[in-house]
């Protein structure tokens, strides 16, 4: 019985390690994933953008040049998407999309949105501002 349990535990351990390796490989390929400092953010790019992976590049830029903002982004966001933001209903305000924003943060969530088609440099700047929005929001609730 003891041998059986040991074999079973070995089997579970191997499966767990294999799943972890596959998961890290997948996240590193398609999302932003780093172990030191720990950061795991899903990325959803807008289909058809000229600058591929501009969100991933923006996060890498932040990691190198603005570690504080990078740390905040990793703490407060788990998903970054390219999508146009609006903060009014078009039925009430005409041309709601006329005021184009570079990005937005939805309070209470861990999502940040970036305007599609922007460069990695611009996205890094926007993410830096949005991560500070998120920090200020959560701090104001404490």
């Amino acid at each position: 019985m003891r041998n059986f349990n040991m074999d079973f535990l070995k089997f579970i351990s191997i499966i767990t390690i294999a799943v972890a390796v596959l998961y890290i490989g997948y996240r590193a390929s398609y999302d932003h994933f780093a172990i030191f400092p720990y950061c795991s953010i899903s990325i959803r790019e807008h289909f058809g953008d000229a600058d591929k992976n501009s969100i991933g590049k923006a996060l890498s830029l932040l990691r190198k040049s603005n570690t504080e903002s990078y740390r905040l982004a990793c703490k407060y966001f788990d998903k970054i998407e390219e999508k146009r933001c609006f903060n009014a209903d078009g039925h009430i305000y005409e041309n709601v999309f006329s005021k184009i924003h570079k990005g937005c943060y939805v309070k209470g969530t861990k999502r940040a949105y970036l305007l599609p088609g922007e460069t990695a440099e611009q996205n890094a700047k926007t993410l830096s501002a949005l991560s500070q929005f998120a920090r200020d929001f959560w701090h104001s609730r404490q």
Binding site: F8, C85, N87, D89, V106, K107, G108, A129, R141
Partner: protein, 154 residues
Amino acid sequence: MNITGKKIVKLIVAVSVGVWIFSYFVYYDFETSCFIKLKPGLMSFVEFNHSNIKEGLQALKYGTPDVYAGVCSNIDTIESDYGCGGWQGGCHYGEEGRITLSTTHSEFVGWTAAIIGHEYCHDLQLREGRSFSEEECYSFDSQILQTIVGVYPN
């Protein structure tokens, strides 16, 4: 009783599956005692989760707590289905406490929160015996958007 590794793994798997199934059909927030049934409809076949609806409710919880409290008190069922509001829209078919929402996880969650607020506004109109006014509810959801969405640059 001899508890083996296999039994523990089976128990963990069973509990995880149970929680997953439960969370598919119910939005629960123990902190505020908020429980809302999530009724699967056409949109639920597009993807087997209601994450956007749940995140929309979370945005209301932290961004507009008064609206959230009202939604929790008055809305008991959110149906994830395509309805009269079209894609990324909502509907209130005149049944108290029941709204319909058409969304998927990839949609703008700020808008999802605003639509929940919009349909809640119709529910209040119904409960208070007032006439059905879209203008009032457009204004209501717009205020929610302005409150919960922080844009850059301002």
